[in-house]
Every structure is written in C-alpha cells, then in structure tokens.
Amino acid sequence: MEAIVLQVLNGLDKGSAYALIALGLTLIFGTLGVVNFAHGALFMIGAFCAVTLSKLLTVSHIVIDETKTDFLGNPAKVEVPYLYDVFGQATGDVIIDWAVPISILVAIPVMMAIGVAMERGLIKHFYKRPHADQILVTFGLAIVLQEIIKYFYGANPIPTPAPEVFAGSFDFGTLLGFDPNLVIYPYWRLVYFAFAAVVIGGVFSFLQFTTFGMVVRAGMQDRETVGLLGINIDKRFTIMFGLAAAVAGIAGVMYTPINSPNYHMGMDFLVLSFVVVVVGGMGSLGGAVLAGFLLGILESFASMGQVLEVLPGINQVILYVVAIVILLTRPRGLMGRPGVMED
C-alpha cells in the first residue's frame, strides 16, 4: 500500500516535470508547427543560466593563505567571493545559497531574448519549408549551442544545489497514518511540482483568457485569414516563440538541483519531450500535460522492484510501450487536433 501511494506521488512529481519540460515544445511544435530539435538545447541553456549565475555570484579575488599549502606544496590560494566584500560573509552565503531560485529572474529575460532572436533570425524563414529542413536546421543549431556550452563549461556535470532550507524530505506517511519514513518526498521536488503547476496554469490562462491568446489560437487555425483581418500575426508568433523558450528555460533552471546540468542534458530530454507532446496529441496543451502525468506515473510503477521481477526490463521500455499503445488506439494521441502534422 505504502509502495503504491509513494509511486503515485512520485509519478505525479515526475509527470509535472515531464509536462513542464514538454510545455515549451508543444507551444512551438504543437501549435506553430515547427519541428524544433533545439528544444532540448533551450532547456539546457536555461539550466546553464543557473550555473552561470552561481558562478558569477562566486566570482572571487584570491588571497594567499600562508598557513595552508596546495597539492604542489606551494602556499594555498583561497578564493574569496566579492560578494563577501559587499554584503559580508553571512549575507553573501545566503545569496549564493539561493542562486537557483534567483536565476529564474535572470533566465526569463535571457531566454525570451534567445527565443525571439532565434525566431526572427532563423525559424521565421522556415515556417514554409518542409519539416525535414526544420529538423536539419534546428538540430544543427542544437549542436552548435551544446558545443558552445561545452567549450566554456566542459563536459562534466556541475553541481547546482537547491537552497539549504529545501534539503531533506517531507514525511507524507505520518499524515496518512503510516509509520514514519515510509512515504517521504524531498522538499525541492514538491517545490518543483508547485512551480510546474503555476507555470502550466499561467500559460494556459494566457492563451485561453487573454485577447493575445485568442489571436494566437486563431492564427494557428488559419494564419492567412487572421492576417487579412489586419492583425500582425507574425509579431505574435515571435512573442509566442520567446514565451516557449522562456518556459523551456525556467524548466531547466528548476531542474538543476535534481540533475546536475551538463552540456548534453538537452539531448537526453529531447526524445522524452517529443514523446510527451505527440502522445498528448499535436496542437493540444492539455494533451501534453495529461501525457506528462500518464507517462510519469506509469514509469514510476514500472520502476518498482516487484514489477521488474515479473517483467524484467519493463522500466527500459515503458515510455515507448505506452506511446505505441496510445498512438495505435487513439490516432491523434490523447487530445490531438486533426490535420496538424499528419502529412
């Protein structure tokens, strides 16, 4: 029983992560119809916004400490962040500790700018090109972005911990009347869950309840007619692209304490996000969210030792099995619109 409660909980959390990671993709791919293989790279760059900020916060001057020696026997160089000089050590440490949440404030404008630049400079010219060309150009872009990050940060994962207050886990089990320690969940993942819910809700209401969103949705259905009505749909699509990049980016920022970021993490999530979006159904935001949760929960269950004893290796393939079953039983995924990306 505890095991099932725990995996449902874990699945919900995983699902929220999947949905959030796929959300940016479904905005670009599912609605604008651009096959964006650089989506993973945007996610990765978001994560590196957090890395960069924490590096910037710890920019240091070097003090020679004669009492210690380094590995070669020379006097040790101790790095003192400038932040200490400005705010004093205690406040400085707090700011450094909160680098990841602070990065969100940085990541939103940065990612917006990257998204807008990408759309204006590159994607704009590819709306009418075949999907194959879109794949090639965005894949090329993804490699270039990755290599730039690798050039500056190397290939190893870089630890980017969450603030100290979120360390440890919350004991749900005691609330539900189980013994202590049976159903626990880390605070940071709960934060991620809440964060994902807020962002997904925000994007939803933006598209559903604002005039801007209405125009964009109309433009997705019939771009030409909306244009004929004298509405500058191109500009709105650019903003949408910027928004999608920002969503991908903050998903990356918040994910850094869960997985230490490295330069190819985008590629690791690329296939997953495509599967989530397509299983959800092209053109449907709700579908992507639903698919995220479904895949998250099923994957959690497939990871259980008891399940693996009966079906060894099921954890390796569960995502794909689910994807195949859903796509065969529901032709356009869970909630796909007819005619989108079907040719």
């Binding site: 505890e2 095991a3 725990l6 995996q7 909980l9 874990n10 699945g11 959390d13 995983k14 992560a17 210690k68 380094d70 590995f71 070669l72 040790a76 690798k150 190397g154 290939a155 190893n156 994962p157 870089i158 630890p159 911990p161 969450a162 360390a167 440890g168 886990s169 320690n181 049976l182 626990i184 969940y185 880390p186 940071w188 993942r189 304490p257 869960i258 997985n259 230490s260 490295n262 190819h264 993490m265 690791d268 999530f269 994957e299 959690s300 990871s303 259980m304 030792g305 693996l308 060894p312 290796g313 954890n315 390796q316």
Partner: protein, 459 residues
C-alpha cells in the same frame, strides 16, 4: 628470456619465408600492406626514426572531460619518454630500461581520436590509427564497452592495446585478449577491498539495497560487491536494475526505505552516479535511521572528476579508486608534481592509469628489444614492477590484469579545494584483492574459463 628469443626468431623466419613466396607472385609495384611489414614480422613496424602511438579517448559525449585528462597524461608521458620535461615517474619506476631517448631510440609521436564512448566510433577511430597512421599501439578509453571492443580489434589487427579506464571484470575476464593489457583495477577488486572497510565502519549485520546500472559493468560490480559483503554477514534485500539512459532516479530511490534496507549501494558510474547519488541525498536518506542504525550510501567505483559533479553530496561516502593524487609514495608525488606543474591541477585516476600504461608499454618494448606485439606481450606477462604509484604490482600472465593495492576512499568532509574531494581511508593490500584466474566472476556465461590465447603480431 631465452625462451622468448627463440619464439620470436622462429616466428620471424616463418612469416618472412611466407612473405618472400607471396611477394614474388605479385607484380612488383603492388606490395601487400601486411606483407610489407612481414620483413619485420609484425604489423606497422615503425619506419624511420619515429614510432607512432594511438591515443583513443572520449572527446565528445559525457566522458569528454575524463578523456581530456587522459590526453593530458599521454602528452606528458610522450614528453617524458622523449627526454623532455622533468621525467615524471621514470626515475621512480623500478625498471630502468627507459633512457629518455624515445622508445628503442625512436622518437615517440602520437595521433589522437575520439571514441565518443561508443564501441563503433571507438573502433573506427582505432582502425584509422592502425590503417592510416601506422600506430603500433592503441591506448585509452573510458568505459568497458569501448575497451572490450577496441581490445578485440587490436587482437585481430595485431596491435597492442593498453586499456585506459575500464573497470568491468570482463575486460580481463571473459573478454580478455592476448594483445590487451589492463592496469586499472576491476569490479572484483572493488568489492574485495570495500567489504572489510564497510564491515568495520558500518557493522556486519547490514541490509543492503543495490541500484545497478543495467549493463555489463553494472552486473559485474553488483555481483562483486554483493558476494564480498555477503561473505562478511551482510544481507542483500533487493537489487534493482536502472536503465543507462535514466536521469532521474527518484522512482528507484523512493522505495528504498520501505524495503527495510539500511544501506544503499549505487552501482553506477559517471552521469548515472552523479544523478543517483544527488537524488538519494536529496531524499534525505542519510538523515534517516533504520533498524536503529544510521542509513548509509556506498558508491563502489569513485571517480574524482565525476564526484565533483555530485558536489557536497559525496561527503562521508565510501568507495574505491585506482589511484589518488594525495598518495605520498615517491612515484605518485613525482607524477603529481610533473602533471600539476604543467597543467595547474592534480591528475585524475584516469590520467594516472593512462600515463602508467604508456610507460609500461615503452618499457616492455625496451626490454624486449622490439615493437613486435609478441615480444611486448612476452615482456609484460608476469612483469613485476614498483614505483608507479600503486606500490608493488604484477602484470599477471594468465589474464593480463595488474594486481596491486586498492584504495578505499571516502568523500572528504571539509575539502580545501575543487579537487580535494576524496580522502584515502585505507590502502587494501594486494593479497586481499587477488583472485584465481579461473574465479567464477571471470568466466563466460556458460561458466567456462576463457583462456587469454596467443599473441597476434598481425603479419
């Protein structure tokens, strides 16, 4: 040694005769690539005054930084062999055959390639070194899949393979080859070295929960740790396989406490290890008490480069490693000084094993008096040496595996610097980690012992 000379001469004469017969049958402007070397009796015999070595390391993909460190070590080794720089470990090395004038008087040059940590890419890169650049020895790599694949290629091509970082039992177990040599330690040794230290620190009645990377290296490591700890009284509650491509391990870690286990063993390496350890610590496992004991986490194979990725999460966690820069023997000190002066930071264990492998190869050539793979194999088999950082070491003839002390390390509580992450808690003496060549963990799937076979000079 006299035995060895006979052996080579016979071989040279035999293949030389074959070459003469074949050469006369072909038009004069055609020369068979292999037969051209047949005059020397082996493939890619160095021509002119240089000898080419092939450094095949991951330069892209998740292990690119480890590959870069290996490459630094190789460049350093080449410098030292050619008599440049401060000679590094050459003065501390027990064998004095190396003179700092290259190998057998030929200047060492090298080519590099990218394994991408994929068997196919690694073999393509190694083949280009053999076919295009005329490399007489291939070395490097950062995973057992690549090591086994390239080792098999070198056996077929008649080239010596000096493995880089590869920890699976298979490399010198069921997949061993006469032309391949491994200095790095293996899963069995990790288990044998760790178990007593774990028992001493955590007691003999622990309940362990294994998370194991779902591929060959994971299997051998899980088996090794399981058998060694169970022999000391531990109980294995569960062993769950995790996909190599997994990035978020929450679904695997969440049920650990429910199982009643009080110790989590992470048979993961590289990115898997960083993520699973980070996730486990995030779940607060280490703050918990189970069965009246503090919950503990163990990482059988540590890599300092990768430990860095897990940051503060490694603090206090036990694991094993092949070598660490903080060792204070003369060889290690000389190497750290040499490497640190040149690059500004201490070498990793991957760098160390690659440097040592290059020196060992060069030394074997000098002692054999030839680059002929069969001569090198003969010279390395059963070779005992010291002064290369791991104490007294034996290259065992039966499986071409080095037997030496193994380091048990622990994540440091108060690191002084970025690379000061691990501290050595125990140097497990070699006797404790030595096993018989036909040990069950070294056998193939049907339980048969695979012989090391005979060397292939490729011509």
């Amino acid at each position: 040694m006299s035995n060895f000379k006979d052996f080579t001469r016979r071989r040279v004469i035999k293949s030389g005769a074959a070459a003469a017969a074949a050469a006369s049958a072909t038009p004069y402007f055609f020369t068979n690539a292999a037969l051209a070397d047949a005059h020397a009796g082996y493939r890619n015999a160095p021509q002119g005054d240089t000898v080419t070595l092939g450094f095949n390391v991951p330069q892209s993909g998740p292990y690119a930084d480890e590959g870069a460190d290996e490459l630094r070590a190789y460049e350093l080794a080449v410098e030292h062999l050619n008599g440049e720089g401060d000679a590094g470990m050459m003065p501390t090395f027990s064998s004095k055959a190396l003179k700092g004038n290259g190998i057998l008087g030929k200047k060492v040059v090298y080519v590099t390639g990218d394994t991408q940590t994929k068997s196919d890419a690694a073999r393509a890169s190694a083949r280009s070194m053999i076919e295009k650049d005329g490399a007489v020895m291939i070395t490097g790599g950062s995973s057992s899949g690549v090591a086994v694949a390239v080792q098999a290629l070198c056996q077929e091509a008649g080239i010596i393979f000096m493995a880089g970082l590869t920890h699976s039992n298979d490399t010198t177990g069921k997949d061993k080859k006469a032309n391949g040599f491994r200095h790095f330690f293996n899963s069995y040794m990790s288990g044998a070295a760790l178990a007593p230290v774990l028992a001493k620190n955590y007691g003999n009645d622990r309940k362990a929960y294994h998370l194991t990377a779902d591929y060959n290296w994971g299997y051998t490591t899980e088996q090794a740790v399981k058998e060694s700890t169970e022999a000391l009284g531990w109980e294995t509650v569960a062993a769950v396989k995790t996909p190599l491509t997994q990035t978020d391990f929450s679904a695997y870690i969440a049920p650990v406490l429910q199982s009643g286990a009080d110790t989590l063993v992470l048979n993961h390496y590289g990115g898997n290890m960083v993520n699973s350890l980070t996730n486990a610590v995030q779940f607060g496992l280490r703050d918990k008490q189970v069965n009246g004991k503090d919950f503990q986490i163990v990482v059988p194979l540590y890599s300092r480069l990768m430990a860095k990725g897990a940051g503060a999460n490694v603090k206090g966690i036990f694991g094993s490693t092949n070598w660490h820069w903080s060792l204070t023997d003369e060889g290690s000190k000389a190497f750290v000084k040499s490497f640190g002066t040149k690059y500004g930071f201490p070498p990793s264990q991957a760098a160390h094993t690659c440097y040592v492998q290059t020196l060992l190869y060069a030394d074997a050539c000098e002692r054999a008096g030839t680059f002929n793979p069969c001569g090198v194999v003969e010279a390395l088999e059963g070779f005992e040496f010291d002064g290369l950082g791991n104490g007294k070491t034996l290259y065992r003839a039966e499986d071409h595996q080095c037997f030496k002390d193994v380091l048990v390390v622990k994540g440091k509580e108060n690191p002084d610097s970025d690379f000061d992450l691990l501290e050595v808690v125990e140097v497990t003496p070699v006797d404790q980690v030595t096993y018989a060549p036909d040990h069950p963990q070294m056998r193939d799937g049907d339980g048969n012992v695979v012989p090391v076979g005979t060397c292939n000079p490729g011509a």
